[in-house]
């Protein structure tokens, strides 16, 4: 806990009026979002307002920054939460002028605002004053226009003059001053980036002087695709494509949770248990892959550990295939439940899962022998890629990255949904803050997920046959009221996966914003690797466990 936060032992709980009193004359209007009070402030008081909310009210987690354009104004929404109690949420709404959308940057208060505001500038076109480095982040530098703004011309050709496409690398990078640094492109085609991430590294000998991530190679306009799809059925397939590394059901749950809360849809208890089981299986598969690729990064070759991790992931995939009929793009959740019941014969399905769970402790023991117990691996990972908790919080790091830095934050427990609060499991926290801690967190979370799955199948097995209600009654067309806004998050495999939806009275969202945990987590890379050796930067990148599909969306 940082020293500048005078937080008492118990988490303060302020009413909306208390907060309004705290902000005083900074507030120029009130809004009501589902589950969060909204305060409208002037665009030049962003830092002041956020600082007061952080220091005096304990809202230390800038979860997401949403930007959107209305007929008469632009708007940035800062979704604030507390790491100690994420059920407390507040939205700071910052309208900006339609003709000249300028808003103060929150970067000075929350470091995570850096990338989030760059994204808002890139896609919507709001200018952020005082921003350290306001450039496009997802789209190419040469892109014309801001695709999510209203006057964006879809038909405008994006062919730009040759000079714009001139080789961005200068002929000779040696600077005139006597610097000994070397510029190195790591990625987008590099064995360690597992995807299309481009890391611009400045090296001093073999040590990292600075790294900068270049994103957007896998940007597929997921937000806009969702905005053009109907709530009821059309959006659900998309979440599978964010964190596509077997975490599909976790992503689907993020959308399901936001849309169900927005439309007041109840989910039957039986379906909640199936969801919980499916989600935890996905988490296990995702963590296995994280373990395997981290080993790949540190070990440097396709070693036994990678193959063992893939072997275990494969078994989970088989179970998920039995459950959903798919191996990668599950599309299994529906608003109000799941698409179909467990596969028949049910006994065999339960038997398969049980067999797998019985083998698991032995396999995990093997991993501990091979990986965490290995002295060379410990030499490589303990004390490298250090991310102190205050820094992690400021960057909005969540999931295993935050829990590896000693931040006790897990939405499954702290902001319960599904069936988690009925089950017996633990949140894993390691306070080493290094690559090794993040590895340990993931390996232990697999054990916890296995516990959850085991309890779920016990419940499902004994569930009375005539009460197996997999979906509640949901209208064929969903039209939430105009101007209702909601921000909801679930604990994805990589951390807090949030969805902001603004309804505009039609059957499609007016604004659909995805808060990707990988996006925020990846932002911590320079903090972890500056001053370290190249291999440690690679290890730190591996320990962040990013999926570019989710970073770039």
């Amino acid at each position: 806990m940082s020293l500048e936060e005078p937080l008492p032992d118990t988490v303060q709980e302020q009413s909306a009026d208390d907060l309004e009193a705290l902000l005083g004359d900074l507030v120029i209007g009130r809004e009501e979002h589902i589950n969060a009070p909204g305060f409208v402030i002037r665009p030049d008081t962003v830092q002041e307002s956020l600082r007061r909310l952080r220091d005096d009210a304990g809202f230390d987690h800038l979860s997401c920054v949403t930007a959107q354009e209305y007929e008469d104004r632009f708007e940035s929404i800062y979704h604030l939460k507390k790491f100690d109690d994420p059920t407390q949420e507040v939205s700071v709404v910052v309208p900006a002028d339609k003709e000249n959308p300028v808003s103060q940057s929150a970067d000075a208060v929350f470091r995570t605002a850096d990338w989030h505001e760059r994204e808002a500038y890139d896609l919507v076109g709001i200018q952020y004053e005082d921003h350290p480095d306001l450039r496009r982040i997802l789209l190419p530098d040469t892109w014309q226009g801001h695709p999510l703004s209203m006057d964006y011309d879809q038909d405008q050709p994006q062919i730009v003059a040759l000079r714009e496409h001139a080789n961005p690398l200068q002929e000779d990078h040696r600077s005139e001053t006597d610097s000994d640094t070397m510029f190195l492109n790591i990625g987008p085609h590099h064995p360690a980036t597992h995807g299309v991430l481009h890391v611009k590294a400045t090296l001093e000998g073999e040590q990292i002087a600075d790294v900068e991530s270049d994103l957007g190679y896998l940007h597929r306009c997921e937000e806009q695709l969702c905005q053009n799809s109907t709530y009821r059925h059309q959006i659900m397939p998309y979440p599978d494509r964010w964190d596509y590394i077997s975490a599909g059901l976790l992503n689907e749950w993020a959308y399901a949770r936001a849309a169900e809360d927005l439309n007041d849809i109840e989910v039957p208890e039986y379906a909640q248990i199936i969801r919980t089981m499916g989600a935890e299986l996905c988490r296990m598969a995702a963590h296995f892959l994280a373990l395997g690729t981290f080993a790949l990064d540190v070990y440097g070759d396709f070693t036994a550990i990678f193959m063992y991790a893939i072997r275990d992931r494969e078994e989970v995939q088989n179970i998920l295939e039995d459950l959903t009929g798919q191996r990668l793009m599950f599309n299994y959740f529906r608003l109000g439940g799941v698409v179909w019941d467990l596969p028949e014969p049910r006994d065999e399905f339960f038997e398969n899962i049980r067999d797998y769970l019985d083998e698991l402790p032995e396999h995990l023991e093997e991993y501990h022998d091979l990986v965490t117990g290995n002295e060379i691996l410990q030499l490589r990972t303990i004390g490298t890629g250090v991310l102190p908790p205050e820094v992690a919080k400021s960057y909005g790091a969540t999931g295993p990255v935050a829990r590896g830095s000693g931040i006790d934050y897990d939405l499954r427990r702290d902001d319960p949904y599904g069936y988690y609060d009925e089950l017996d499991w633990d949140v894993i926290v390691e306070d080493g803050c290094d690559n090794y801690s993040r590895l340990l967190v993931r390996m232990q979370e697999v054990e916890q997920s296995a516990r959850i799955v085991e309890q779920c199948i016990d419940l499902l097995e004994d569930w009375p046959e005539d009460e197996r209600n997999i979906q509640s009654n949901v209208p064929r067309t969903l039209r939430p009221d105009d101007d209702t806004e909601i921000y909801r998050a679930v604990e994805g495999a990589k951390g807090e996966l949030g969805i902001y939806i603004r309804a505009d009275g039609t059957d499609k969202p007016g604004r659909f914003k995805i808060r990707s945990p990988c996006f925020s987590n990846l932002q911590t890379l320079p903090e972890m690797s500056n001053g370290e050796y190249v291999p440690d930067m690679i290890a730190a990148l591996g320990s962040l466990d990013i999926v570019l599909g989710e970073v770039d969306r």
Binding site: A295, Y299, A304, M307, Y533
Partner: protein, 363 residues
């Protein structure tokens, strides 16, 4: 190369010369060339089996996979299509490479390793003694040849005009310097025991029985006489040939492929070849210095030709490198240097001094 010592057993070139009825200098030249040709081909054949087939099979066994099994028995014939595939690929020459040295590096690497085999006694195969030359300074010569490899790595890294290659080349130098000294110092402790640098003499010195337990005699191999030196030498050898956990100069996932990043087609094959021959050379040195050369482990097995034992020992070392590759993480470059200079060097000197004292006082 120093005068050839007279041996009770004839060396391979002499046998060939005799067979051809030549004598004197022409006999030495012709015999030497044919002998060298034969030995180089033996090693290249072993590499051909090791690279496209054995490495795949071994790694697959370690990592729960199946690997090649369609072409030929156990997939063995994959070697032919693989060779065709590798050789028929386009040779891409990047702009700005430093031409002569860029072309020479892939030749120097396998050549340096092959040269090393000139002084290795590889045992008998029937009446034939597979041993090209037996100079008095054999051990020094083999280390000298093996070290030429680092020149090739630096040339490749520097000439490639690629930052990853450059880093790989630099790492190769740092690593070789840090590990060559402990390697040679440890080998020196054996030389103190044997009292000679000549390879055949070192092998002969290991020919006696160390002790006998229940009728089974343990040979006086230096691995048994001085296991500490054996382990030190094994570790330094792994670093010297750049295998996991010391594959720092290549280090995929860090610096892509290090010095060989820019090489393709035939040049890549040559590098690959060179690496494998280096592993075998490392194994051969291990066998000669610590494992009794071509000797059978127990007298009862002496009916199997020495050359077979020698090949088994080399392949055992190859298997060991592949085992490490499948199970061990790579150390970081600074840690590697630290282990080399602060750990290995000190231990190897301690070993040398202790051995000298023991040999001086007791024997």
């Amino acid at each position: 190369m120093g005068a050839l010592a007279l041996q009770t057993e004839q060396l391979l070139p002499e046998q060939i010369a005799e067979l051809l009825g030549l004598s004197g200098v022409p006999g030495e030249i012709v015999g030497g060339l044919i002998g060298a040709f034969l030995i180089a081909n033996i090693m290249l054949t072993m590499t051909a089996i090791a690279g496209p087939w054995a490495k795949r099979k071994i790694t697959a066994a370690f990592t729960d996979r199946i690997a090649v099994n369609r072409i030929g028995p156990f997939g063995l014939l994959i070697i032919i299509p693989d060779a065709v595939r590798l050789l028929s690929k386009e040779l891409i020459v990047p702009e700005g490479v430093d031409r002569p040295s860029w072309d020479l590096a892939p030749i120097i690497l396998p050549a340096s390793a092959l040269l090393g085999f000139a002084v290795i006694p590889m045992g008998d195969l029937g009446p034939v003694n597979i041993h090209l030359a037996d100079p008095e300074a054999g051990l020094a010569i083999v280390f000298a040849f093996a070290s030429i490899a680092s020149v090739a790595l630096v040339m490749a890294g520097y000439a490639s005009n690629n930052k990853y290659s450059l880093m790989g080349g630099l790492r190769a130098v740092a690593q070789n310097i840090a590990y060559e000294i402990p390697l040679i110092i440890t080998a020196l402790s054996v030389v103190i025991f044997a009292g000679t640098l000549q390879m055949s003499e070192i092998v002969a010195a290991q020919g006696t029985a160390l002790f006998t337990i229940a009728g089974v005699s343990i040979p006086a191999w230096y691995a048994f006489v001085n296991p500490f030196a054996f382990v030190l030498f094994l570790v330094a050898n792994m670093a010297e040939i750049g295998r996991n956990p010391f594959d720092i100069p290549e280090a995929p996932t860090e610096i892509v492929a290090g010095y060989q990043t820019e090489y393709s087609s035939v040049y890549f094959v040559l590098f690959y070849l060179g690496e494998f021959i280096h592993i075998f050379l490392g194994g051969a040195i291990m066998a000669v210095v610590f494992l009794g050369g071509a000797a059978a482990p127990i007298p009862a097995l002496e009916f199997i030709p020495g050359f077979v034992w020698f090949v088994i020992k080399i392949w055992a070392f190859f298997l060991f490198t592949q085992w490490c590759r499948s199970a061990l993480p790579r150390v970081r470059i600074d840690q590697l240097i630290e282990i080399g200079w602060k750990g290995m060097l000190v231990l190897s000197f301690a070993n040398l001094v202790l051995t000298a004292i023991i040999v001086g006082v007791i024997i």
